[in-house]
C-alpha cells in the first residue's frame, strides 16, 4: 500500500513539475507571439526610416527613427564606457588583486549593484545632473546606463576570466611579463569571446531599460545631435505612444515594441554564438 503511494506521489509531482516548466516556457512564447501578432500589421518601412512628422502622435505620417538612433546612441555610448570600466575591474580582480578577502568584498559589491533597480539609478543620475546643472540629455542618459551596465559586464567578465587556468598566467609571469602585460596579452586574448558576450549582455540591458533614461535622457522628436541635448529611446517610444488615445498611434507602439524585441533577440543570438565560440578557444 505504502509502496503504491510513493509511486503515485512521484507521478503526481513529475506531472506538476512538467506543467510548471510548460507555464514558464509558455509565457515566453505567449509574450513573443503577442508582440509579433500585434506589432507586425503596424510595422512598415516608414517606421524605421523616418522621424515623427507634424501630427505624428495624432496618427499622421512619420516613424520612430529618432528613438531607434537615440537608443543606439545611448546604449552604444554607455556600453563603450562601461566596457572599459568593467574590464578594468575584472582585470583588477584577476591580475592585480592579491587579497582574496578584498576580492570577495568587491564581488559582493558588484552583485549588490546588479540588484539595484534601474529607477534608483535614474533618480541618482537626476540628482547628479541637478548638482552640476545638466539638463536631460544624451550625456545624462549615458551616465545612468553606465552605472546600470557596469555590474553586469564586470561580473560576466569576472566569470569568464575564472576559466583561465592560473598556470597560463604563471607561465607569462615566469618569462618576465608584468601583470599588465599578462592581463592584456594573455588573459584578455584568452577570454576575448567571453568579453564580447559581456559587452552584448550589457548592451541588451542598456537598450531595453526605460526607467533609468526616463529622468536623465528625456525625449525628443529629433535625431540625436549633441551630447547635451535630450534624446529619444525605444522603450520610452513604446511607452509614450501607448499613452495616446489614437488607435493608430497605439498600433505603432506595438510595432515599436516589436522592433525593440527584435533587436533584443538578435543580441541574444549573437551572445549565444560568441559564448559557444569562446568555450571552444579556452585552453584548459
Amino acid at each position: 500500500m505504502r509502496h503504491r503511494w510513493i509511486r503515485i506521489e512521484e507521478t503526481l509531482m513529475l506531472f506538476l513539475m512538467r506543467a510548471s516548466l510548460l507555464v514558464v516556457l509558455g509565457s515566453l512564447v505567449f509574450i513573443l507571439a503577442t508582440i509579433l501578432i500585434k506589432g507586425l500589421p503596424a510595422l512598415n518601412l516608414a517606421m524605421l526610416t523616418q522621424i515623427p512628422r507634424g501630427g505624428y502622435y495624432l496618427g499622421k505620417e512619420g516613424g520612430i527613427l529618432n528613438a531607434i538612433t537615440g537608443s543606439l546612441a545611448l546604449a552604444g555610448g554607455a556600453t563603450a564606457i562601461s566596457f572599459c570600466l568593467a574590464l578594468a575591474v575584472a582585470i583588477y580582480l584577476h591580475n592585480f588583486c592579491s587579497s582574496e578577502r578584498w576580492a570577495s568584498v568587491l564581488r559582493l559589491a558588484l552583485d549588490v549593484l546588479w540588484g539595484i533597480p534601474s529607477i534608483v539609478y535614474g533618480a541618482f543620475g537626476f540628482t547628479v545632473m541637478l548638482f552640476i546643472g545638466l539638463r536631460a540629455s544624451l550625456l545624462g542618459g549615458i551616465v545612468a546606463l553606465v552605472l546600470l551596465e557596469l555590474p553586469i559586464m564586470a561580473r560576466t567578465m569576472d566569470e569568464v576570466m575564472n576559466l583561465v587556468p592560473s598556470g597560463l598566467k604563471e607561465a607569462s609571469h615566469a618569462v618576465g611579463a608584468t601583470r599588465l602585460e599578462t592581463a592584456f596579452k594573455v588573459v584578455v586574448r584568452q577570454t576575448l569571446p567571453g568579453l564580447i558576450t559581456a559587452l552584448l549582455l550589457g548592451f541588451g540591458r542598456g537598450i531595453g531599460d526605460a526607467a533609468s533614461v526616463l529622468f536623465t535622457a528625456g525625449y525628443t522628436d529629433r535625431l540625436p545631435s549633441s551630447l547635451f541635448r535630450p534624446v529619444a529611446s525605444l522603450p520610452l517610444a513604446v511607452f509614450f505612444q501607448l499613452g495616446t488615445p489614437v488607435a493608430d498611434v497605439r498600433a505603432r507602439a506595438y510595432a515599436s515594441a516589436l522592433i525593440l524585441t527584435g533587436m533584443i533577440l538578435v543580441i541574444s543570438l549573437l551572445t549565444r554564438y560568441f559564448s559557444r565560440w569562446g568555450m571552444r578557444n579556452v585552453i584548459r
Binding site: 505567449f30 533618480a123 602585460e181 531595453g208
Partner: protein, 307 residues
C-alpha cells in the same frame, strides 16, 4: 631603462584599475548619500517613520504619506511571489534533477531570453493580454459571487494589483529559476546516491535530501526574486492602475513606489518638497533592495561554501 618604463606602466595601470574597483564599492554609499541629500529637506521636517505610516498624499498641501505606496508595493510584489515561487520551485527541480541533458541545454537559453526581454515589452504584454482577461472574463464571473473581501471585484477596469502581480511573476521567473538551478546543482551527487541506495524513490530523495540540503539557497533565491520584483518600474506601472489608495482586494488598483517616482518626475521640480519626497521614495527603495540583496548574497555564499 626599458624595464623601468614597463614597471611604471604597470604601476599606473594598477592605480587606474584600483580606482575602477574603488568606484564599484563606493557607488552604493554614494547613491544613498546623493539621494539622502535631496531628501533631507523633507526628512528634516518630518521623520521617516511618520512619513511611512501616513495615508494622505497631497503634494500641493505638503502632505507626503507613503503608506498607500508602500502597501501597494508589497501587494504587487507579494502576489508576484505567491504566483512565481511554486512554479519556479517545481520547474527548477525538474530542470536540475529530472530533465535529460539535451532538454536542460535547450531550456536554459530560453530562460535567459526571458530575462532579456525589456520591461516595457512585459508591460505591453500585460496590457494586451492580462488586463483584458481580468476585465472581460475573471471580474464579471467573480463579481457578486463571493463575499471574500480579497476577491471583491469593485474595480472593473482590469488594471489592478493582480495584473501587476502576474506580469511581475513572469519577470522574476528567470531570476529565481537560474539561482535555484545553481543551488540544486551544487548539492553533491554522493548524498543523492546514498539516499537512492537506501531504496528511496527519486522524489523522496529530492524531498528529504536535496531540498533539505539546499534550503538556505532556496531562501536566498526567493529573497533575490523579491528584491528584483520590488524595484521593477515600467511593466508594473503600465498595468497596475496607479491610484493612490490602499488596495483592499486583488482587483483594486494600486500604486507602487517605483511607479510613483517614474510617473511624477515631470512635475516634481515645480511643487515645493515634491522632489525631496520622490527622492525619499527612491532612497527607501534603495535601502530595502540593498539589505535584501546583501542578505541573499551572504546566505548564498555561505550555502555554496558549505557544499
Amino acid at each position: 631603462m626599458i624595464l623601468h618604463r614597463r614597471l611604471v606602466k604597470d604601476r599606473i595601470a594598477y592605480y587606474l584599475m584600483l580606482a575602477g574597483a574603488g568606484l564599484s564599492i563606493a557607488l552604493v554609499p554614494l547613491i544613498a548619500l546623493a539621494l539622502a541629500g535631496r531628501a533631507s529637506t523633507l526628512l528634516d521636517q518630518q521623520s521617516l517613520g511618520k512619513l511611512m505610516f501616513s495615508v494622505t498624499w497631497s503634494p500641493l498641501k505638503g502632505e507626503f504619506g507613503f503608506l498607500p505606496f508602500v502597501v501597494g508595493t508589497f501587494w504587487v510584489t507579494g502576489l508576484a511571489m505567491v504566483i512565481a515561487v511554486p512554479l519556479c520551485m517545481l520547474s527548477a527541480i525538474y530542470i536540475a534533477e529530472y530533465a535529460p541533458n539535451r532538454l536542460r541545454a535547450s531550456v536554459k537559453p530560453l530562460i535567459d531570453l526571458l530575462a532579456g526581454i525589456p520591461s516595457v515589452v512585459y508591460g505591453l504584454w500585460g496590457i494586451l493580454t492580462i488586463v483584458p482577461f481580468l476585465r472581460d472574463y475573471l471580474i464579471p464571473r467573480l463579481s457578486g459571487l463571493t463575499r471574500i473581501g480579497l476577491l471583491n471585484a469593485e474595480n472593473p477596469t482590469g488594471y489592478s494589483v493582480l495584473s501587476g502581480g502576474i506580469v511581475l511573476a513572469v519577470m522574476v521567473f528567470p531570476v529565481i529559476i537560474s539561482t535555484l538551478d545553481e543551488v540544486f546543482t551544487a548539492v553533491p551527487h554522493g548524498i543523492r546516491e546514498a539516499s537512492l541506495a537506501l531504496g528511496a524513490s527519486r522524489w523522496q530523495t529530492i524531498k528529504g535530501v536535496v531540498l533539505r540540503r539546499a534550503s538556505p539557497g532556496i531562501i536566498a533565491a526567493i529573497v533575490f526574486g523579491f528584491s528584483r520584483a520590488i524595484g521593477e518600474t515600467m511593466a508594473v506601472m503600465m498595468v497596475v492602475g496607479n491610484v493612490a489608495q490602499i488596495p483592499r482586494s486583488i482587483f483594486d488598483a494600486g500604486y507602487p513606489l517605483p511607479a510613483l517616482i517614474a510617473n511624477n518626475y515631470g512635475e516634481m521640480m515645480s511643487i515645493p518638497m515634491y522632489d525631496a519626497a520622490l527622492m525619499t521614495a527612491a532612497l527607501v527603495l534603495l535601502l530595502v533592495v540593498f539589505l535584501f540583496t546583501l542578505g541573499a548574497r551572504l546566505i548564498l555564499m555561505q550555502a555554496m561554501r558549505s557544499v
